[in-house]
């Protein structure tokens, strides 16, 4: 076996490192997502902080060996705070030439790439458009290449088991995982338990995967070609019970928690759309909590059924992504004018139109704020990390029912699929939710009578005697709710609906600044870019720069101290994965400040390195 590494060292060399960024890549059927999640869970249990980034093609099983069929899973583990999946890789595991070709540029110079040598056939090289074999032509001289006959070794290891060829080949990802476990001193225990559970009743598959995982582990141990192994000490995280969650699961759980806390049954009307469907997948499991999850015939029926459920007194939710939000626009206007509570979750993806379904973007902000006919403001909030999806889904539900209005929660493909450790929150410790339900008729009751502080109307639910009333999409009289074409009433109702949303500012937290509280540069972000911006700001703050970071979870209305925070900095840079939508909103709301934009629209998260450069540059040119 050939290697580009110069001086093989003893396996006794154990290096203590701060953190590592690893990416597993292969065909979309190679099990890279599973490999990645196993490494993640094992590391989490060891106590490391973690952030992950699955990156997979829109095609379910793209042609084998093709460049566009490459599926990847990136994980960043560390002994101190980890807030992004990392920019550049410390280790790349490539199961085929296509995976190598599409990912090698992300590997840091001098770092290690493990390849399955058996997959570097003439045919696979051609499919990856390699004219010459990169393992032989010197193009990888800047890296440490570990070539392993992974396919043959897997076959050899399983030759005594009565398995078909397909099942044998499908377990070779466990060989790679075994090797990486050894390199980073991870225990195999969690994955062995996982096999036992996953293959219950299929003991042969459990045995095969166990054998291959161990074979990979011991292969790495005995292979002198792998020069070092590394340990990453547990991170100092707050005490508590943790689990690894991705954003979509956390969103679903936040809704469950809100349902229990409010005493309202949870209703989801939804239609499958990437990358939001996993919220539906999670909630359909939970009938035991009385969850009614309805897969409708289209996006419109999804939201409409939720409006019906809301009218009938459920905590009603609809989940979607950008194109679906466009379809829901008219119905959202109906919920808005009827002043019914409704949570709309938009897991943003690359747009416009079908765009980049499996990639991330923040380009639905203006659609969320303005994408309806007429004057129809709704509350818009955004989640900033996978675990924060739990909090913001809970908050979205609380605001919707307490203020009797639709709330749009924006997440995105990056945090929806990405995962991180979550310190589990007990429902007992969450804030109360008080829906303004009217239990019985009072003499002075009118459908559109309002709470004087929040301006929310009461929730009069079908089945309640004496509160029979009609609502609808036509403009309504300010008190009775009956149809009204009166000009002044229309203006009054338009204003009061807007004022109601505006007053939500009295009920949401103020902005807090990370890093410098005043100084040269304020980094402004919103939603799923929190991790990248936080890392970048922390990095350059540690170098002594006077940089602060504010991140918006609440976008309409904005926190009351926004202008006061902005005024403390010499320059403001608004960073977004779009062409400047938040900057546009800030210019409209706070025109007294000047905003610099930093935008990226490649379907990918920010690179911390690029942000660092940009921020230093802005400070230097102040």
């Amino acid at each position: 076996m050939d290697t580009h590494s110069k001086t093989p060292q003893s396996t006794e060399n154990i290096e203590q490192i701060e953190g590592v960024v690893i990416r597993f890549v292969g065909d979309s059927g190679d099990g890279m997502q599973l490999t990645g999640t196993q490494f993640t869970d094992t590391s989490a249990m060891f106590g490391n902080d973690i952030a992950t980034f699955p990156n997979y093609p829109a095609e379910i099983r793209a042609p084998q060996g093709s460049l566009y069929g490459v599926s990847g899973y990136q994980v960043h583990i560390g002994s101190s705070e980890v807030s992004t999946p990392g920019d550049d890789l410390d280790l790349l595991v490539a199961m085929n030439p296509a995976g190598l070709k599409t990912n090698i540029a992300s590997l840091k110079a001098g770092h290690m790439v493990i390849v399955d040598l058996d997959s570097f056939s003439k045919k696979n090289l051609e499919k990856a458009f390699y004219d010459t074999n990169p393992l032989e032509d010197g193009s990888l001289n800047n890296y440490r290449v570990i070539e392993v006959d992974m396919t043959s070794l897997t076959k050899e290891c399983l030759k005594d088991l009565p398995l078909d060829n397909k099942s044998v080949l499908r377990s070779k990802n466990m060989f790679a995982l075994g090797m990486v476990y050894w390199m980073y001193h991870r225990s195999m225990e969690h994955t062995l338990d996982f096999f036992a559970k996953k293959f219950k009743g299929k003991e042969l598959l459990a045995e095969a995967n166990t054998k291959v995982l161990k074979a990979g582990y011991f292969y790495a141990e005995t292979l002198e070609l792998i020069p070092n192994s590394y340990t990453i000490a547990p991170s100092k995280m707050p005490k508590g019970i943790y689990k690894i969650v991705n954003g979509n699961t956390a969103t679903a759980w936040g809704l469950l928690a809100a349902s229990e806390k409010s005493g309202l049954e949870l209703y989801l009307g939804s239609y499958p759309i990437t990358p939001a469907t996993d919220i539906l997948h999670e909630l359909v499991k939970h009938r035991h909590f009385g969850v009614k999850a309805f897969q409708a015939e289209d996006e419109i029926a999804g939201i409409c059924s939720s409006i019906g459920a809301s009218f009938a007194g459920d905590l009603a939710v609809t989940t979607t992504s950008g194109p679906g939000l466009a379809l829901k626009g008219e119905a959202l206007g109906l919920a808005m004018i009827e002043e019914l509570p409704l949570v709309v979750i938009d897991v943003q993806r690359g747009g416009p139109s079908t765009g980049l379904p499996t990639k991330t973007e923040q380009s639905d902000l203006l659609q969320a704020l303005f994408g309806r006919n007429g004057e129809s403001p709704v509350i818009v909030v955004a989640a900033s990390t996978p675990a924060n999806c739990f909090d913001m889904a809970f908050q979205a539900a609380k605001l919707a029912v307490e203020h009797m209005t639709p709330v749009i929660l924006l997440t995105d493909g990056y945090i929806a699929n990405g995962s991180e450790p979550w310190k589990i929150k007990s429902v007992n410790d969450l804030e109360p939710i008080n829906p303004p339900i009217l239990k019985e008729a009072t003499p002075d009751w009118h459908p559109y009578a309002r709470n004087q502080d929040s301006l929310a109307r009461n929730w009069a639910i079908p089945g309640t005697k004496g509160l029979e009333h009609r609502i609808g999409g036509l403009e309504k009289d300010k008190t009775s709710g009956n149809v009204s074409y009166d000009p002044e009433n229309h203006e009054f109702m338009t204003d009061i609906r807007a004022e109601k949303v505006k007053r939500v500012a009295n009920y949401i937290p103020e902005l807090t600044v990370d890093g410098a509280q005043e100084g040269d540069l304020l980094v402004v972000g919103w939603g799923g870019t929190y991790g990248s911006l936080h890392s970048a700001v922390k990095g350059i703050s540690d170098e002594g720069y006077k940089v602060g970071h504010v991140h918006f979870n609440y976008i309409n209305p904005m926190p009351k101290n926004t202008a006061a925070v902005f005024a403390k900095f010499k320059r403001i840079v608004v960073c977004e994965l779009n062409k400047g939508q938040m900057a546009y909103v800030l210019r409209a709301n706070y025109p007294q400040f000047t905003y610099v934009q930093y935008n990226k629209i490649q379907g990918l998260p920010f690179s911390v390195g690029d942000l660092n450069k940009k921020f230093k540059n802005l400070i230097a040119n102040n």
């Binding site: 928690a257 009614k292 015939e297 019906g308 009609r470 009956n482």
Partner: protein, 337 residues
């Protein structure tokens, strides 16, 4: 409906305080009166009645009934009503729609509602025209029909709502002339009793934009000769003198006269609304002479919300999760000390 003592309501109890604003002479008034008469007969509390409508002349209906109601958006009433029913299956939920609302813009929701067999009662006001937008052809307008948007004649062949409904697996379909309040009220009560999606097509005259579109079937002088009113278990007999009837001739319906060619009442088809095979129901729906009215199809099957509730109960009994915390703290957790 846990409280067994349901107050005895009258027509007036269900009348709202809103002024009715349809054109004078519109059949919609007949439909509203028939409903207000039927509601007290349904043994349902007023606070448990919900009317959901879409957009169009018919869709103003909920404002005129003193119950819960929502005048929603074009074509989407089935979706909204589905949510209401799933949220609270105890409610008696009505969908009020028209031929434009349910056959055109809301066609998708209409067929899926029927397919699922959710327990909603749907009144389809079919006037074969767009009234509220002032006279364009609808999906039930006739070929060649001249309208505001087809001045030279309509080139789009029409849907037959019943045919579409049965294609979408409707279990309950009834049809009635817009000038027949008594039978209409009866059908509304039958629809409420039926546990599944009940669709009642009302042949509704639009006095302004499509006046007389059904007169050849519904006029007093001709209706007994041109319509057959179907009742489950009764022979298919019609005519002023009750001397006409329906028989099968191969794969077609055939109109026969009792007393001619030795045919007696016993030879006529007996209407079986409960037959799950829809073949004969489809033939009746397509028949232009006589036009079939009454309860054409009424096949009992578990409703969607009952399926849902049964499944939920099954899952709930087996589940280890009682509180959300049980879920959150379950599975692969680890402790940081």
């Amino acid at each position: 409906m846990e409280d067994t003592a349901i107050q005895k309501y009258t027509f007036k109890d269900f009348q709202s305080d809103q002024e009715v604003r349809w054109c004078p002479g519109c059949d919609d008034y007949v439909i509203l009166r028939s409903m207000l008469k039927a509601l007290p007969e349904m043994n349902v509390k007023r606070e448990d009645v919900v009317f959901i409508s879409g957009i169009g002349c018919s869709s103003r209906f909920p404002y005129y009934v003193n119950s819960y109601g929502m005048h929603s958006i074009h074509g989407r009433a089935p979706g909204i009503a589905t949510g209401v029913k799933l949220a609270n299956p105890n409610l008696s939920v009505w969908v009020i729609t028209g031929d434009g609302d349910s056959m055109a813009i809301g066609g998708n929701h209409f067929i899926h509602m029927l397919r699922r067999n959710i327990n909603l009662n749907v009144v389809l006001f079919n006037n074969e025209i767009y009234g509220l937008t002032k006279g364009q052809f609808s999906p039930t307008s006739l070929l060649g029909q001249k309208t505001k948007s087809s001045p030279y004649g309509n080139t789009q062949p029409p849907f037959q709502p019943g045919e579409l409904a049965i294609g979408a697996q409707a279990r309950f379909f009834a049809r009635i002339g817009g000038n027949n309040p008594k039978d209409m009220s009866d059908l509304f009560v039958q629809a409420e009793k039926f546990k599944g999606t009940s669709l009642i097509e009302v042949l509704q005259n639009c006095v302004i934009f499509n006046d007389g579109c059904y007169t050849h079937y519904t006029d007093k002088e001709v209706k007994e000769d041109k319509q057959i009113f179907l009742e489950h278990g009764k022979p298919m007999i019609f005519g002023k003198n009750m001397d006409k009837g329906l028989m099968l001739n191969g794969l077609k319906l055939k109109v026969v006269t009792i007393g001619e060619e030795g045919i007696t009442k016993e030879d006529l088809l007996i209407h079986d609304a409960k037959e799950s095979d829809p073949t004969l129901h489809q033939m009746l729906i397509r028949s232009t002479y006589p036009l079939a009215t009454g309860n054409i199809r009424s096949v009992d099957e578990l409703s969607f919300e009952d399926r849902e509730m049964q499944l939920t109960e099954q899952v709930r009994t087996k589940s280890p999760f009682k509180k959300v915390d049980d879920l959150l703290f379950s599975g692969e957790t680890y402790e940081v000390k």
